[in-house]
């Protein structure tokens, strides 16, 4: 049976959903799903991985790998590859996975299909589908050359299988011998927000210069509270004016998001902003200027004063969503 090695991403003792998606995909293909996980205090994580359907877990556990580091995790992952000899490697196309996968591919000297939206494991073979030309077309790629075949897969692209409570995976501890490292992560300092990051949210409500001050962002916060899995973003103008910290900035030099729903409030739609949200599935624009370029990319446009429209929307959503 072919072995599929999966990188598990977890945060605060919880395994991220995308890992479950990858495990399910490997199991659906009838392969042996082996999961690599690194970090500290992994018991809960290991248990969860077993319930997600992982057959085996290779755990690199200890203080030295408490925090994610591209260099250390990369080396350990390669060790896991050596001991499991997989034919396919799957890594989530998350910030962490995008950082890690190229390094592993380079260390192993193998090819990598990045940002895939579909994969097909067929025995020892791997076919992957990835969007190109800004999502206008998709390319099917097939691997040739030396194994293992590697792909990073976008979150929410694959479906998850049912969890099996009580199931457990065989856990093997991996030696933490990373050799000499050029850098180690001592501590991770989080920004003040504990809220959902704009890149992870399913719905983004963004405000622009028209918000006028940071207090006014409260009306967007209120809207966001009503909408499940949503976050508040901002244009650079709003960030520059100090209404929001830079980590909220959507656009060319901020975050690139592609949520299911993007609501742009008082944002003109400069190309630098569009660069960060154009690929959202549905775009709603609220702007009092009917000529604003944002309306050209919007699926729904509301010409009006956002200070009137947004509270109304919040009310309506509240009613509709109960």
């Amino acid at each position: 049976m072919a072995t599929v090695l999966i990188y598990a991403e977890h945060k605060e003792g919880k395994v991220k959903k995308v890992t479950h998606e990858l495990i399910s995909e490997a199991n659906r293909a009838g392969a042996e799903s082996v999961v690599f996980v690194a970090g500290q205090g992994l018991d809960a994580v290991n248990k969860e991985l077993g319930e997600m359907g992982a057959k085996r877990v290779i755990a690199a556990q200890g203080d030295a790998v408490k925090f994610y580091s591209n260099e250390a995790y990369g080396k350990l992952f390669v060790d896991a590859v050596k001991s499991t000899n997989p034919s396919v490697i799957l890594i989530p196309a998350t910030a962490q996975g995008k950082d890690l996968a190229p390094r592993i591919a380079a260390l192993l000297g193998v090819g990598l299909a990045s940002d895939c939206t579909k994969i097909q494991i067929d025995g020892e073979k791997l076919k992957a589908t990835r969007p190109i030309y800004a999502g206008k077309a998709v390319a099917d790629v097939e691997f040739v050359g030396p194994k293992p075949y590697m792909a990073t897969v976008r979150p929410n692209a694959l479906s998850v299988g049912a969890a099996s409570p009580g199931a457990s995976a065989a856990v093997t501890a991996l030696s933490l011998d990373t050799g000499a490292l050029k850098s180690t992560v001592k501590d991770v300092v989080r920004g003040a927000t504990a809220k959902l990051d704009v890149t992870e949210a399913n719905i983004v409500v963004s405000g622009g210069r028209a918000m006028k001050n940071s207090e006014n962002f409260a009306i967007l916060e209120k809207l966001s509270e009503v909408l499940p899995n949503s976050a508040v973003g901002a244009s650079r103008a709003a960030v520059d004016a100090g209404y929001r910290p830079h980590s909220y900035q959507v656009g060319q030099t901020g975050k690139v998001v592609s949520p299911t729903l993007y609501i742009a409030c008082g944002i003109s739609g400069a190309i630098q902003h569009l660069a960060g949200m154009r690929t959202s599935k549905i775009i709603v624009a609220i702007n009092k200027d009917p000529e604003a370029p944002i309306f050209q990319v919007a699926d729904y446009g509301i010409v009006g004063d956002l200070f009137e429209v947004v509270p109304l929307l919040t009310e309506e959503f509240k009613k509709a969503l109960g």
Binding site: A134, K136, A237, H246, I271, L274
Partner: protein, 665 residues
């Protein structure tokens, strides 16, 4: 030979030996930097090189770009040249007692002495002003420098020693001809009134002569380790300068089989010309004063960069001289940091200000290449840009098949259609990514199309076949990605046999005009302001409609400082009825960058204050309702600046083409 002559000879030989040793090390270090020279051959076009030597070294044209400091320098420079004749005469006198240049004829000799006397005073006043500048005025760019104080003290010591020597000599050997040395004569009067006898005066004259000798020799030995090294290196650096202003980025041979590294990671990766640049720096600070990054509190100062690179050269002296290049330490470190290198907007204000023709930008962009190609070390925002260029052939994630969407309803033909119909066009209109995808810039593209149609000129675009020039990647150090795009574009252009190109984007303009010849295509490239100026001149279009506006003009770096075009846009504006132009002080080659060049357009400006806001503030001084520009990125930057200043209702940014389109029928 007299004992004193022998002693003098020994001192001269000793000092010369020491000087030669120090100079030879500098020479060997320059030879140990083996990287390729930017923009090629520096030994060709000898006549022009001799000419630049005359105008800029002997006649100090570049130095005089700054009035007061320039005049001060001219006084010291020419003073030194003239006085060196006397120094040589005195040296000869020491070796062959009694030697004098008086054999050139009495009146000629008297004239020479008069001139020398005058120049001694001139140097003294120059040095006096220099002291005043350093100690009292203290312009920021000059910084603090003990070295400079030592040099100035030595220089004034030399002049004072000469005056003292002459004055005692006059007293020791009275002669009617001495009257020409009026100042020395006056001083000798003082000695006389103090009762100094001719014998004592003779001893004093000899003493000051020796003092002068020793100062001269000491100066000579000091030079190679001081910023005054420029007295030896500025002249050759001017001679080997890049003769014309326009330039492109050096093409890296990525296929070279023996290449182990690309770009400049270590000082040994730079070229001999770069090293000569480092030696030639006078630390005058003009570049720093002009630098938009420095002026908005970024950690980049071109002056400091040159200085720090020189430090890196000296710190790696042993490794360089013994040929052990693998032991040479990386350039990036505590002084030259990543932020220094990424802060540059490639505006070339530094190069345009430098009196000794140092090319600061070449070094910065060669270092970026090394960071990106060898270490994948670049600001995070660039990752998206690289990916977009790679996947969508545009720095923005825009779909390539929408590239020509802006032409809907305009009847603009593509080269493919032209080729199919067997027709010919005069110009290819290179639209560029901004002109194709950015709503604001699309309006400029449309205005240009309208002008071209009014003029009856035949043109076509590439449409979907056009790709990003790769310039945003190239200036961000990603030579590999850039070359891929350039080559693909060049193949398309060659396929259609394109010869003449017009574009409204200065960055595309510079790339196509000055860089693509390295990739196998010779194009005649013209910026839209140049073409429009020509169309107006030849009467093909006539601005007859009044545009009742006060306008100020912002020079883009890539049309201005990179390509020396300051007139075309101004003649256009001047030809529009009723339009009034208010120039600001910081214009033409002294203009300030909008902040977008050098791929800064694609990076966040996290440090200091915003360049675009500072530039906007300068332009607002003109109290004009319209800021005219010629570049899509300048337009973005200045529009954003005006929004920040909350003046959107009062001031608009317009491309010159938009103004002309309004003024013509």
């Amino acid at each position: 030979m007299a004992i004193s002559s022998l002693v003098f000879l020994a001192v001269v030989l000793g000092a010369t030996g020491l000087f030669a040793y120090k100079a030879s090390i500098l020479f060997r270090l320059a030879k140990a930097t083996k990287g390729p020279v930017w923009s090629g051959n520096r030994m060709d076009r000898l006549a022009e090189r001799v000419e630049t030597f005359f105008t800029n070294v002997l006649f100090q044209k570049a130095v005089l770009k700054k009035k007061k400091a320039g005049l001060m320098h001219v006084a010291i420079f020419w003073g030194f040249m003239i006085i060196t004749i006397e120094t040589m005469e005195l040296f000869a006198y020491e070796l062959f007692p009694g030697f004098s240049l008086s054999f050139i004829g009495e009146s000629a000799y008297a004239t020479l002495r008069l001139i020398q006397e005058l120049f001694t005073l001139l140097v003294l006043s120059g040095v006096g002003y220099a002291f005043y500048r350093r100690l009292v005025l203290r312009p920021e760019g000059l910084g603090k420098s003990t070295d400079a104080i030592i040099i100035l003290s030595l220089t004034s010591g030399l002049m004072l020693a000469l005056l003292a020597m002459r004055s005692f000599h006059i007293l020791a050997e009275p002669n009617d001809n001495n009257a020409v040395m009026f100042a020395s004569m006056w001083i000798s009067g003082i000695w006389q009134s103090l009762g100094v006898t001719p014998e004592v005066a003779s001893t004093m004259a000899a003493g000051f002569r020796w003092f002068h000798h020793l100062l001269v020799l000491g100066f000579m030995v000091y030079i190679p380790s001081s910023k005054h090294l420029h007295v030896l290196t500025a002249a050759p650096n001017t001679f080997f300068r890049k003769l014309e202003t326009p330039k492109g980025m050096r093409k890296v041979n990525l296929e070279a089989e023996d290449a182990t590294s690309f770009g400049a990671g270590k000082i040994s990766d730079l070229s001999w010309k770069d090293t000569l640049d480092l030696y030639a720096c006078t630390e005058c600070g003009r570049c720093q004063d002009a630098c938009p990054a420095w002026n908005t509190q970024k950690p980049l100062s071109p002056k400091a960069l040159v200085h720090d690179l020189k430090d890196s050269l000296y710190e790696n002296k042993l490794a360089l001289l013994s040929g052990k290049t693998d032991e040479v330490k990386p350039i990036l470190g505590s002084k030259i940091t990543d932020d220094v290198i990424w802060a540059c907007t490639s505006c070339r204000a530094c190069e345009s200000a430098c009196p000794v023709f140092i090319e600061q930008t070449d070094k910065i962009y060669e270092i970026r290449r090394n960071m990106v190609l060898m270490e994948s070390r670049f600001p995070a925002e660039l990752q998206t840009v690289f990916k977009n260029i790679e996947n969508n052939f545009s720095p923005w994630a825009m779909s390539p098949d929408e590239r020509d969407k802006w032409t809907e309803g305009l009847e603009v033909r593509t080269m493919a259609q032209i080729a199919a119909s067997g027709e010919q066009v005069e110009y290819l209109f290179w639209v560029g990514c901004a002109g194709s995808f950015d709503d604001r810039s699309k309006k400029v593209s449309k205005a240009l199309v309208s002008i071209l149609k009014k003029s009856g000129i035949k043109f076509a675009i590439l449409g979907k076949e056009e790709k990003c020039t790769g310039d945003p990647a190239r200036r961000a150090g990603n030579e590999y990605l850039a070359q891929t795009l350039i080559q693909e574009n060049v193949n398309v252009l060659n396929n259609y046999g394109v010869k003449k190109v017009v574009t409204a984007c200065p960055h595309c303009f510079n790339a196509l005009k000055n860089e693509w010849k390295d990739f196998g295509i010779e194009l005649e490239v013209i910026h839209h302001t140049q073409l429009i100026a020509e169309l107006i001149r030849s009467g093909k279009i006539k601005p007859t409609k009044a545009v009742d506006e006060k306008v100020t003009y912002h020079d883009s770096c890539y049309i201005g400082r990179w390509n020396n075009e300051y007139n075309a846009p101004r003649t256009i504006l001047a030809s529009v009825p009723q339009l009034k132009v208010n120039e600001i002080e910081q214009n033409k080659s002294n203009g300030m960058c909008c902040g977008a060049g050098g791929s800064r357009m694609w990076m966040e400006e996290h440090i200091g204050t915003r360049i675009n806001v500072k530039r906007t503030e300068q332009l607002l001084e003109a109290k004009a309702g319209v800021v005219a520009a010629n570049c899509p990125f300048c337009i973005t930057m200045l529009t954003d600046g005006i929004k920040t200043k909350e003046l959107t209702d009062k001031v608009r940014v317009m491309d010159v083409a938009e103004i002309v389109d309004q003024a013509t029928v």
